[in-house]
């Protein structure tokens, strides 16, 4: 696993581990669960499964973005706020490529599989190149600067990307072609969308492939080594710049794929989409334990499910309050996240 943050303030860690804080956290979770169960029982069980699939599908998209946040944080301890906009860029580029490959809404379903794959590969490649360029221009020169400096350039890059997309396509909502089948399966009275299943499968395949890559490949090993101790890794002959660039490349590939999957699922994108989606994904990464890859995946799924349940069973006006409440509660009570930040062995 990639993982760092060796320098968690001792006070925070102590507070996070204190019994009182754990008890308080468990109590809040217990109350939330009881309330949810109470509401779930008032509705038809099939509704529960419907909301659950929506939540998991949304959550798997957050997970794809959260992985990019967590990887970059793991390796250079930078919260790359431009990552959400890289994700939007993936949606925009693929949208522009569709006409080139003759893909349009309402065409023959399965004939689109190959062109769609081609679009996905080109999009992921282009987005990755952009992200590597951002790293080269905006973050690498600041690698030894105080940590606030790259954070601010990250916010600046986010604004630049949003501005560029605004100039490219304008501020309108853009309709993203509805290419996935809209049929629904009926399993014992529970209606589940084929679309939701496809989205979920694509996301899971990507996350698993990515985890295997990090754990098994030589580059993955280099990334893990760099995350643990950059100087030592360099002494062992690892090209740090190349490894970090690879991290940005892979993070953007996932974000680009996320952008396409998002477009296919939500059918609607706009230039400012990355801001709030990025914040949700960032929350997911922190929730799961920033720097921790399975943590980001699980955090993403949980955030998606919590948002869907809140919208489906409770007052939707509370959704953002709940999500960002989780962010703050995690930072205060358990700064290492659900699965814990991976602290390198010393």
């Amino acid at each position: 696993m990639i993982g760092a943050l060796a320098r968690t303030p001792a006070t925070l860690r102590n507070f996070g581990n204190s019994q009182r804080a754990t008890l308080a956290g468990l109590l809040i979770v217990a109350v939330a669960v009881v309330l949810t169960i109470q509401h779930v029982l008032q509705h038809d069980p099939s509704y529960f499964f419907q909301i659950l699939t929506i939540g998991i599908a949304d959550g798997s998209i957050y997970a794809l973005i959260a992985l990019g946040y967590t990887m970059v944080y793991g390796i250079i301890e930078l919260i790359n706020f431009a990552h959400g906009d890289v994700f939007t860029l993936g949606a925009f580029i693929s949208l522009a490529l569709f006409p080139v490959f003759g893909i349009a809404e309402g065409g023959t379903g399965y004939g689109y599989v190959l062109p769609l794959l081609a679009v996905a590969v080109i999009t992921m490649g282009l987005v990755a190149v952009v992200n590597v360029a951002i790293e080269r221009v905006a973050y690498r020169p600041l690698r030894h600067a105080p940590r606030l400096a790259p954070l601010i350039t990250a916010i600046g890059m986010s604004s630049i990307l949003e501005g560029a997309m605004y100039l490219w396509k304008g501020p309108f909502n853009l309709h993203y072609p509805d290419l996935l089948p809209i049929t629904r399966l009926n399993i014992n009275g529970v209606s589940i969308g084929v679309k939701d299943l496809i989205v979920l499968t694509m996301a899971i395949v990507l996350v698993v492939a990515f985890t295997l890559f990090i754990n098994l490949s030589k580059l993955g090993k280099a990334m893990r080594a760099t995350a643990q101790d950059r100087d030592a890794a360099q002494l062992m002959g690892i090209d740090i710049n190349r490894t970090i660039a690879a991290t940005f490349f892979i993070g953007a590939v996932l974000a680009g794929a996320g952008g396409i999957i998002y477009g296919l699922y939500i059918n609607n994108v706009d230039f400012s989409l990355g801001f709030i989606t990025g914040l949700f994904a960032f929350t997911a990464a922190v929730f799961g334990g920033i720097g921790n890859i399975p943590g980001a995946a699980i955090g993403g799924l949980l955030i998606g499910v919590i948002a869907a349940f809140n919208n489906g069973y409770f007052d939707s006006a509370w959704t953002e309050i709940v999500i960002f409440g989780i962010l703050i509660a995690t930072l205060v009570f358990r700064p290492t996240g659900l699965l814990g930040m991976r602290v390198p062995e010393k």
């Binding site: 304008g170 309108f172 509805d178 809209i182 629904r184 939500i266 059918n267 959704t319 953002e320």
Partner: protein, 419 residues
């Protein structure tokens, strides 16, 4: 591209207006009088704001002069990053106040912008006449205004005189009119004959107000609001959970209090597969534009209905020649918005009032306060969208609404209601 073309036409029109003004008045001109517009004419809101500005421009172009004074339109844009912005609107009003030639303004487009602009313009005072503001609390002291919207007409007006007028029907008419239409037994155009509706809003002054008005009337007349939800337009892009909830509760229609700029029609596009095609999608004037149809994708069907705060000028035989002249000057369907001819009427009412104010001021250029007095005295002004007089609050005495339905990919007139 559409925007660029619109702009080009506008520039040409402004040029023509300038040229005509120059030749016809010649050395006999007594000076210049300016009319300002404050509308969102860039970005997502431009699809409704720009055609409205063109309507006002056309009225000024046609009038050329008033009592020997050369007329000129001074357009302001209150959109920031493509979305209407109250703070920008206030800055625009301050810029208008600094220009002594401006005697009144047409606008703003959005109720949330009006809320911020009225106090500034009222203190000056500067006459405002809006083609499209529909929030009732801008003009009427209703018991719930302070609690629901955070303002009342009195709290927006630091001086005792009223400087704000509008030609659009307030939401106390727009929301309930759709509720009545939905409940009334069919067939079209009498009504839809449904009893269960889900009601959503976009958490804005306008959206929440009109959704509440719909819900109140729908419940009062025997319908059931089965699901009431609000969404943050910046964060909410996936409406599937809202849709699942509405379906679970048996909604036959969804009423969305919002605009297409706040994502009011994204949910319609996501309905495919989740709902039977016979589910109705209803909304106020905010969703009655081309952007909404794009967002709706394959679901832009005849089961979508929207009210519009003014009547349809093309249904008014007396307006036919001016409507035709406008369409010749601004060809193409994207140049005719729901409020284009309301924009024309607002400018025409303002010009008429300025003329009377000049007369009252023995031929001299009137003060802004005199223009306000003259607008308030407007009696049975025959506009393209109706015959206008104003009550003490600044509301039209007989507002008219139209109901539109999506037919072959465009919003089409169905019926008209007068209060």
């Amino acid at each position: 591209m559409v925007r660029a073309r619109g702009l080009a036409v506008l520039i040409i029109a402004a040029f023509v207006a300038f040229a005509c003004g120059g030749t016809s008045s010649g050395s006999g001109s007594k000076g210049e009088i300016d009319i300002a517009t404050d509308l969102p004419v860039s970005g997502a809101d431009a699809s409704s704001g720009l055609p409205t500005q063109q309507g006002a421009q056309f009225a000024v172009t046609r009038a050329v002069t008033v009592r020997g004074y050369t007329l000129k339109l001074m357009p302001f844009d209150d959109a920031v990053n493509g979305v209407h912005d109250a703070q920008k609107g206030v800055q625009n009003v301050q810029a208008m106040l600094a220009n002594k030639l401006i005697l009144g303004m047409v606008g703003p487009f959005n109720s949330g912008v009006a809320k911020a602009e009225i106090p500034v313009a009222n203190a000056a005072p500067l006459a405002m006449i809006s083609p499209s503001n529909t929030n009732e609390c801008l003009t009427q002291s209703l018991s719930y205004c302070q609690a629901a919207n955070g303002f009342t007409p009195a709290s927006l007006r630091p001086s005792t005189i009223n400087n704000y007028f509008r030609v659009a029907a307030p939401d106390t008419f727009q929301g309930p009119a759709m509720a009545d239409f939905a409940l009334h037994a069919g067939p079209l155009p009498a009504g839809l004959g449904i009893t269960k509706a889900a009601v959503w809003d976009d958490e804005e002054t306008f959206g929440q107000g009109v959704a509440n008005n719909f819900a109140k009337e729908f419940s009062a007349k025997g319908g059931t609001v089965v699901d009431r939800k609000s969404y943050d337009p910046k964060a909410k892009k996936d409406f599937k959970d809202f849709l699942a909830s509405a379906k679970d509760k048996g909604a036959q229609a969804i009423y969305v209090g919002g605009t297409s700029a706040t994502g009011g029609c994204i949910a319609r596009g996501q309905m495919a597969g989740l709902f039977n095609p016979d589910i109705y999608y209803l909304g106020p004037d905010g969703i009655g534009d081309a952007q909404c149809l794009k967002d709706s994708g394959s679901m832009a069907t005849g089961n979508m209905f929207a009210t519009q705060g003014v009547s349809d000028a093309t249904q008014n035989p007396a307006a036919a020649s001016i409507v035709a002249a406008y369409q010749a000057a601004y060809p193409g369907s994207s140049n005719v918005g729901a409020y284009t001819f309301a924009g024309y009427d607002c400018a025409a009412i303002l010009i008429d009032a300025i003329g009377r104010a000049i007369d009252a001021n023995s031929g001299n250029s009137p003060t802004r306060a005199q223009v306000i007095t003259a607008i308030a005295a407007t009696a049975n002004f025959k506009g393209l969208t109706g015959t206008y007089s104003f009550d003490a609050n600044g509301d039209p005495t007989h507002p008219t609404l139209q109901l539109q339905q999506v037919k072959s990919g465009a919003w089409t007139f169905v019926a008209q209601f007068q209060q």
